[in-house]
């Protein structure tokens, strides 16, 4: 059996890895540019399970279990490193602390150990924080981070050893269907035939699927992020400024750099090469209020990547109604990096065993949009 995966991001590579681990000998990954070119190489490296739908929480909990297991095993020896540094959400307003209390109750009921913490505990978790601006905070100790390029390198190495071929510089221009089967991918370097096809092409998935008449409701939304030079360790959690519009965040990645991001108004499909000069000061201002030391730190680079967003902000997983041998893994709406391990596992199970071991994943197939069965958020927060 030959399995063809389109896209060498976190989703495609973990899918290839899981398939190879489950014994598939013939796996090929087709990538138009290079490994990590898409959103994966541009992400903030954060990992958490504290979401507001059962689907996300169940899948992310399993993903975190796998991040840990992988970092202690073969992938860990090759450099994959999950650090359970936690997430901290800051409330600047008193009433936001009440919102946190409601969220904590929901998370706890689904087995995610978030807590509302006071200023003293906050200071010990995030020593350089100016707590005068903060009314309270929510802490997720289960969350963490994993540096993206060491993860990708570990996956490349492990995949190659298992016989997976990764063809970079190979763009898939269209899929070729015969009846209810996809028979080949037409690429910039010729045709590639296969028995099973997995589309994990991130922002490129929608156009590619159109070539066989499949419409997916994703939008590619540009998101901006910058990095400073690396510094000595200052704090481990990813910190989110909840009450400021565009929810600015800061994380000191494992390599020592501070990554700082904030959502600014953006048009979907804008080029990721159209840099916005206003982004840097807009992201830095609220962060510098909270972390005065950051004013002396030097900014190194700024870049843009896509969030591939669906109407209910949950991924599109699994088989497609009209085809027997086509699977999708995209539409992660800004949290596909953390889902990588669970994505790989469930897509591999779907292909080899006919269904995923996590039943919640079956609610995330493409036909949910036709059936009007969008994912239900258990708490809607403003």
């Amino acid at each position: 059996m030959k399995i063809v995966i389109v896209g060498a991001g976190i989703s495609g590579l973990f899918t290839a890895y899981s398939l190879a681990k489950m014994g598939v000998r013939d796996v090929v990954v087709l990538e138009k540019r290079y490994v990590g070119y898409g959103s994966t190489g541009r992400c903030a490296t954060g990992i958490r399970a504290s979401f507001t739908s059962e689907e996300h929480i169940v899948l992310m909990k399993e993903s975190i279990r796998l991040w840990k297991e992988y970092s202690e095993g073969e992938l860990g020896r090759y450099g994959l490193n999950f650090v359970q540094g936690g997430y901290v959400w800051l409330a600047r307003k008193e009433e936001t602390v009440d919102t946190f209390r409601k969220l904590v109750a929901l998370h706890n009921s689904l087995g995610v150990p978030t807590r509302v913490i006071d200023r003293d505990e906050l200071r010990s978790l995030v020593p350089p924080l100016n707590t005068n601006l903060v009314a309270g905070a929510m802490h997720d100790p289960m969350a963490g981070k994993s540096y993206v390029f060491t993860t990708l390198r570990a996956l490349m190495k492990a995949c190659r050893e298992l016989g997976v071929r990764i063809a970079t510089g190979t763009e898939v221009r269209k899929l070729i269907a015969r009846g209810s089967r996809i028979v080949a991918a037409e690429t910039s370097k010729g045709e590639v035939s296969g028995d099973i096809f997995v589309i994990a092409a991130g922002a490129g998935s929608r156009e590619l699927l159109k070539t066989v008449g499949i419409e997916i409701p994703t939008k590619n939304i540009p998101r901006h992020i910058l990095t400073t030079e690396p510094y000595q360790r200052a704090f481990e959690p990813l910190v989110i400024d909840w009450d400021t519009p565009g929810v600015p965040y800061i994380v000191q990645i494992i390599e020592g750099n501070f990554f700082i991001g904030r959502d600014i108004e953006e048009e979907p499909e804008q080029s990721i090469y159209s840099q916005r000069i206003d982004f840097m000061p807009k992201a830095l201002k609220p962060i510098a209020e909270l972390f005065p030391f950051i004013k002396a730190v030097r900014v190194l680079r700024y870049w843009i990547g896509y969030y591939v967003a669906t109407p209910d902000n949950h991924p599109i997983y699994g088989p497609v109604n009209n085809f027997d041998n086509l699977f999708i893994a995209t539409g992660f709406s800004g949290h596909g990096y953390m889902m990588g391990p669970v994505t790989g596992k469930i897509i591999a199970e779907w292909i080899l065993e006919g269904r995923p071991s996590i039943p919640q994943a079956e609610k995330l197939t493409l036909d949910r949009f036709e059936r009007g069965a969008l994912v239900r958020e258990l708490a809607v927060i403003g």
């Binding site: 540019r33 290079y34 490994v35 990590g36 070119y37 190489g41 390029f149 990708l152 390198r153 490349m156 190495k157 190659r160 990764i166 970079t168 510089g169 400073t228 030079e229 390599e255 840099q275 000069i277 206003d278 840097m280 000061p281 807009k282 830095l284 201002k285 510098a288 950051i294 004013k295 002396a296 730190v297 030097r298 900014v299 190194l300 680079r301 700024y302 870049w303």
Partner: protein, 100 residues
């Protein structure tokens, strides 16, 4: 990075900012990193304060030699703002950041 430092007496450093050695680069190429972007991301070459002005030309030559290509046949990594490291307090003075 610079895992070779301990084993050998005089490693050849190709990226000073991130302590990457010639052996690190050669090994990554053997592992299948066949373009500068891949090497940059896997080894953090070009991600230091000099943004690769020092090391990218050297790494380009090593890669070209290994692949039997000319340096000008290689795709160069993206150059990103702000080009030179800029302290946050200077960026904060920018009027662009004022809230609408």
């Amino acid at each position: 990075m610079g895992g070779e430092m301990k084993k050998k007496g005089h490693p050849t450093i190709v990226c000073r900012c991130n302590d990457v050695t010639l052996e690190d680069v050669e090994r990554a190429i053997e592992e299948g990193c066949h373009d500068l972007e891949c090497l940059r991301k896997v080894l953090r070459i070009g991600m230091g304060p000099c943004q690769g002005r020092t090391c990218i030309p050297i790494v380009a030559r090593i890669l070209a030699r290994k692949l039997g290509k000319r340096v000008d046949e290689l795709e160069l990594p993206t150059v990103r703002a702000p080009i030179l490291p800029v302290p946050v307090h200077l960026l904060l003075k920018s009027r662009e950041g004022e809230q609408p």
